[in-house]
C-alpha cells in the first residue's frame, strides 16, 4: 500500500502536522476517498517508530496531536527508492502510478525517468505474456489477452502523461 510512502513524500516537501498532511493527501491523492485521521496518526506513529520521521515537540492547542513531523534521511531514501522502482506491471495499478507521478512532480524529481522505467517494465511483461500466448493453451491465451489489454491501457496513460509532464508540473506546483 502506498499511503505511508505518499505521506512520507509529502513530508519531504516540508515538516507538517498530521492535520495538514491529511488535508494535502485528500486534496491530491484522495480522489473522493478521504484518509481517516486515525490512519494518518497510526501511520505517523509507525513511521516514527521505524526512524523514517521525527516528531517535534508537542505544540499547545486543541486536537489529538499537535506535533510537527519531519522526514529523516532514512525516510528520504525510502521515498527515493520507492519512486524509482517500477510498480509490478499488472492491471489496475493506475492509482499507485498516479501517486508516484504527482509526488515526483511536486518534489521536482525526474518523473519522466520513472515513467520510462515503468514503460520498460510493462513492455517486458507484455513480451512475456505474448510469448505465453504463442505457446500456451487457449485458456492461457484468453487470460493473457485480458492482461495485455489492461497493460496496453496503462502504457497509453504513461505515454500521454509523459507528453503532458511540463503542464502537469506547473499545475501541481501552483496549487
Amino acid at each position: 500500500m502506498s499511503v505511508p510512502l505518499t505521506l512520507l513524500g509529502l513530508l519531504e516537501r516540508e515538516p507538517s502536522h498530521g492535520y495538514d498532511l491529511k488535508r494535502d493527501y485528500d486534496e491530491y491523492f484522495g480522489r473522493g476517498k478521504q484518509l481517516p485521521f486515525g490512519q494518518v496518526y497510526a501511520t505517523l506513529g509507525r513511521l516514527a517508530r521505524d526512524g523514517r520521521v521525527e516528531p517535534g515537540e508537542a505544540e499547545p492547542g486543541d486536537g489529538p496531536d499537535r506535533k510537527r513531523y519531519a522526514i529523516t534521511d532514512i525516510g528520504r531514501a525510502e521515498v527515493d527508492a520507492w519512486l524509482a522502482d517500477p510498480v509490478e506491471p499488472e492491471p489496475h495499478l493506475q492509482t499507485v502510478l498516479f501517486s508516484k507521478v504527482t509526488l515526483a512532480l511536486m518534489l521536482g524529481k525526474p518523473a519522466e525517468a520513472y515513467l520510462d522505467r515503468q514503460r520498460a517494465a510493462h513492455l517486458v511483461r507484455m513480451r512475456d505474456l505474448t510469448e505465453l500466448k504463442r505457446t500456451g493453451p487457449l485458456v492461457d491465451v484468453l487470460l493473457a489477452d485480458h492482461a495485455l489489454f489492461h497493460l496496453e491501457a496503462d502504457l497509453r496513460w504513461i505515454d500521454l502523461t509523459s507528453a503532458r509532464l511540463t503542464e502537469l508540473a506547473e499545475a501541481v506546483r501552483k496549487r
Binding site: P4, L5, L8, E88, R119, M126, L151, E152
Partner: protein
C-alpha cells in the same frame, strides 16, 4: 547512444544519423545497432522520426549526415543503383499499404522480386507457392491482391518479403490496417517464420502489443533514439511493503 545487440553480432547499424525534410528535422543524431536474427521494435510518438530511421536503415532515404552500416560496409555512401540492388537482394519490406500490385495475382506479386533477381520463372512461381502455403494463403495464389482482405494481403506481403531469403525485413506498421485478431495472426507468422529463417526484423510501430513480439524495443523521441528497453528487469523489492501498514 550505444545499444546492446544480439549474440550474433551487429548486422545493421545507424550511427549519428541526421535527416531533414526541408526545414524540418526528422532525425537529429539517431543511433541504433541491430543484431543478426534479432527482432527489434522501434516505437515513438507520431512525428518522432521512427519511420525516417527505418527508411534510412533500409537505404530508401540517404541521411544528410551520419553513417549507415550493413554487414560491415557503409550503405549510405552507395549510389542509388547499388542501394536499389541491395534492397532487392538482401532486404524485404512489409508496409501498412501499397507494396503489392493490386492488378496482379498473389502468386505474381510474390514471384516478382524473384524474377527481378533473374530466378527462372518456373522456380520463382514454385517458391511463391511454397511461401503462400506457409503463410496460410496458398489457395489465394490465383487471386488478384486487390480483391483480397487486409489480412490476406498482409500475408501475401510477408510471403513476398520472405521469398527471396532476405537478411533483414523492414516492417512499418505492418498491422496498422488490421483488426486485433488478424493483426495478431500476421505478427505471429512474421515472427515465427523470421525466427525459423534467422532473419533480422525491424518493426516500426506505435502499438505496444506489436512491439511485445520483439526481442528488444527502442524509443525514438525528437529524432533521437532515447531509450533502449532491452535491459528492463522486473520490478525490484517492493518498498511499499517495507513501509506498509
Amino acid at each position: 547512444m550505444n545499444t546492446p545487440v544480439a549474440a550474433g553480432g551487429t548486422l545493421i547499424e545507424a550511427r549519428d544519423v541526421h535527416k531533414s525534410f526541408g526545414q524540418t528535422p526528422a532525425l537529429r543524431g539517431a543511433s541504433v545497432a541491430v543484431g543478426r536474427g534479432e527482432i527489434l521494435a522501434i516505437m515513438g510518438p507520431s512525428g518522432s522520426g521512427k519511420s525516417t530511421l527505418l527508411h534510412c536503415l533500409a537505404g530508401i532515404f540517404a541521411p544528410d549526415r551520419g553513417e549507415v552500416w550493413f554487414e560491415g560496409n557503409r550503405l549510405d555512401t552507395l549510389d542509388e543503383a547499388a542501394r536499389t540492388k541491395l534492397r532487392r537482394t538482401a532486404f524485404g519490406f512489409v508496409f501498412q499499404f501499397g507494396q503489392l500490385v493490386p492488378e496482379l495475382t498473389a502468386a505474381d506479386n510474390v514471384a516478382m522480386p524473384l524474377l527481378l533477381n533473374r530466378v527462372r520463372r518456373r522456380t520463382a512461381y514454385q517458391t511463391a507457392g511454397t511461401w503462400l502455403d506457409k503463410l496460410g494463403v496458398g489457395d489465394k495464389g490465383g487471386r488478384r491482391t486487390g480483391e483480397l482482405s487486409g489480412g490476406e494481403a498482409q500475408r501475401v506481403a510477408i510471403a513476398r518479403a520472405l521469398a527471396l531469403g532476405p537478411k533483414v525485413i523492414f516492417a512499418d506498421e505492418p498491422t496498422g490496417s488490421l483488426d486485433s485478431l488478424t493483426g495478431e495472426k500476421v505478427m505471429d507468422l512474421l515472427v515465427s517464420l523470421a525466427r525459423e529463417q534467422g532473419t533480422t526484423v525491424i518493426i516500426v510501430t506505435h502499438d505496444a502489443r506489436v512491439a511485445a513480439y520483439a526481442d528488444r524495443v527502442v524509443m525514438v523521441r525528437d529524432g533521437l533514439v532515447s531509450l533502449d528497453l532491452s535491459a528492463a528487469e522486473a520490478p525490484a523489492a517492493k518498498h511499499a511493503a517495507k513501509a506498509a501498514n
